[in-house]
């Protein structure tokens, strides 16, 4: 059996498969599936749903729309707010047996700083992902669209913690590598990508926008070719590791991201089709590596794409 052990920003991982933020609520899953969820936890590292300063109800329904080979969501970051999360949820998440990355997002650099400090202070937390790219929240400027804004934000947050800071990039820009380079220059330890692609749908009956929030973000296999292009463009210019995602549905597609330059991968929408999708990806990796002629995960991670 091929050894899949690896690491991301110094966090040791039993394998290269994370979940995409917001696509797997481990606490709800434990309620539904019982302790089997923990015993067979499908990811090598758990990324929380994006946490905000204050509790948020999320966007009005409808929040989902199925598309050809994908879906649009407009969830709007419902959640208990950072304090509720740290008080109530973190304990449960620390029982999962895998390293924990907490995703945070705020409207201002000041609030981002508060979130980072509060979250980093907790020893259960191995890393922090900065969501500067959510298309479903009306927070005015999307920091992640501007390299200069991204760099400034990173410079402000970097001194606050020695824990890994991961910047989640938006795909909705002309040149994601510029934003990635800015994140790196500002001190980011890693970039994760892609977040969802801006998308819309029309109600088949009422002729109005289907989504309660008007528009949302596209995910699933439909966006995989877009994600692969962006992962490749970014990983070929930055030194920091890339967490690749966008439409990964099996080991083969996960390996494509690694060949495109990602160090590790995350499974998002596929979790909705199969609660154990993360495990299915991991289980398929040794054979997928072999089919493509790699003796180890490391070989594939260090392959460079011609």
């Amino acid at each position: 059996m091929t050894d899949l052990a690896t690491d991301i920003c110094g966090i040791p991982l039993a394998g290269p498969v994370l979940n995409g933020s917001g696509t797997f609520d481990a606490l709800a899953a434990r309620r539904v599936f019982g302790d089997a969820l923990v015993e067979e936890f499908p990811f090598d590292c758990y990324v929380s749903k994006t946490i905000t300063m204050n509790p948020r109800p999320g966007n009005p329904p409808y929040r989902l729309w199925e598309t050809p080979s994908g879906m649009i969501n407009s969830i709007g970051l419902p959640g208990p707010g950072v304090d509720g999360f740290l008080e109530r949820d973190l304990v449960g998440l620390s029982e999962l047996g895998v390293p924990l990355i907490v995703s945070v997002m705020a409207d201002s650099a000041e609030d981002f700083a508060i979130l980072v400090e509060k979250v980093a202070a907790r020893e259960e937390v191995s890393g922090i992902e900065l969501n500067v790219s959510c298309p479903n929240v009306h927070s005015g400027l999307i920091v992640g669209e501007q390299p200069s804004e991204t760099e400034a934000l990173m410079k402000a947050l970097r001194p606050l913690t020695s824990k890994p800071l991961i910047v989640k990039l938006t795909p909705n820009v002309a040149n994601p590598h510029e934003v990635a380079l800015a994140a790196e220059a500002g001190g980011a330890d890693s970039v994760s990508m892609i977040n969802t692609v801006k998308a819309a749908a029309i109600d088949p009956v009422s002729n109005r926008a289907w989504l309660g929030a008007g528009a949302g973000g596209l995910s699933g296999p439909a966006v995989r070719p877009i994600a692969l292009a962006q992962v490749r463009a970014v990983s070929s210019v930055v030194e920091i590791p890339v967490i690749g995602m966008g439409g990964i549905s099996d080991a083969e597609s996960a390996l494509e991201f690694i060949l495109a330059g990602a160090r590790v991968v995350a499974v998002g929408t596929e979790n909705f089709r199969d609660p154990k999708a993360g495990k299915a990806v991991t289980d398929g990796l040794p054979a997928a590596l072999e089919r493509r002629g790699f003796g180890s995960l490391d070989e594939a991670q260090s392959a460079t794409l011609a």
Partner: protein, 292 residues
């Protein structure tokens, strides 16, 4: 008799992951279709619970839809002597997902995850004074009502079922899923039973009855559910509704199935429902796709 309505009975955890189940049968039932899966590993599902289903081959039509699994309530279960269960589902073909499920043939494989979600309470848990249960079902919503009715029969709890349909085509499954005891039908087109809405029957019943001893359960089209909810709220009658909402995952992962709560905010229908108390939500019509 307890002083306070108790919690609902607990439902067992669902097997983690999804599993392949074989299609044993598929048959027309009026304008609907009933198909049967053989589930060898799942626990006995409770009334109101649902499964996420996806045909294992060709789950994707001409254009990559259906892509996500579809939430479907079970309409009946029967334990099989040599282990496992027969699960019946009642399907209304409204789009690519339900059509693909309905097109499965015996021997085909179907991905199954679940059972998921909350179950109906027992009448005494809903209302400590309950003398029995009133079940109000409409269209495809008769499926969970049929399961609840069977459980009540098994437990020896009296129930009366009021079932409403637009027309004969939208009344599939009644004969097969319901016994003939204590059932009253309403057809909007007057083709059988009462001509009009099933809520007419409910109102008749509640007028004759002592409302204080009623416990109402309902599943059906949003407009019907909201009417039932209003009737009960106005009379202070405890009511549980099985709602629908677009779902991607069915187990709390996507936050997509939001339904507005009574006090503001949203619940996740897949884990906080699909069975909700009438006074727990803002409306039975807000979280539904705009289907007629």
């Amino acid at each position: 008799m307890r002083a306070e309505p108790a919690d609902r009975p607990e439902s067992p955890p669902a097997p983690f992951g999804r599993r392949l189940c074989e299609v044993a049968e598929s048959r027309l039932a009026g304008g609907y279709r009933i198909f049967t899966l053989i589930d060898e590993t799942g626990p006995v599902p409770a009334p109101g619970q649902f499964f996420m289903l996806a045909a294992s081959g060709g789950w994707a039509g001409e254009e990559g839809r259906p892509y996500l699994p579809r939430a479907i309530s079970h309409a009946r279960f029967q334990e099989v002597p040599d282990g496992g269960m027969r699960l019946d589902f009642l399907i209304d073909e409204v789009g690519p997902g339900t059509s693909r499920l309905a097109a499965m043939k015996p021997g085909d494989q179907c991905w199954v995850a679940g059972p998921f979600g909350s179950r109906f309470s027992l009448p005494r848990q809903l209302n400590e004074d309950a003398a029995g249960a009133i079940l109000v079902g409409g269209g495809i919503g008769i499926a969970p009502m049929a399961v609840l009715r069977r459980e009540l029969v098994d437990r020896g709890i009296p129930s009366r079922s009021l079932l409403g349909f637009r027309d004969q085509a939208h009344s599939g499954g009644v004969e097969e899923l319901f016994g003939c005891d204590e059932i009253r039908l309403a057809f909007e087109d007057g083709s059988a039973g009462h001509k009009g809405y099933v809520t007419d029957l409910l109102l008749q019943l509640l007028e004759g009855d002592d409302s204080r001893s009623a416990a109402v359960y309902s599943c059906g089209p949003p407009a019907m559910l909201e009417a039932v909810r209003q009737i009960c709220l106005q009379r202070d009658i405890p009511v549980e509704l099985a709602l629908e909402s677009p779902m991607a995952c069915g187990y709390g992962a996507c936050f997509g199935c939001a339904v507005p709560k009574a006090g503001g905010g949203y619940l996740r229908l897949c884990i906080d429902g699909p069975v909700v108390r009438g006074d727990g939500i803002a409306s039975a019509m807000a979280g539904e796709p705009a289907v007629d």
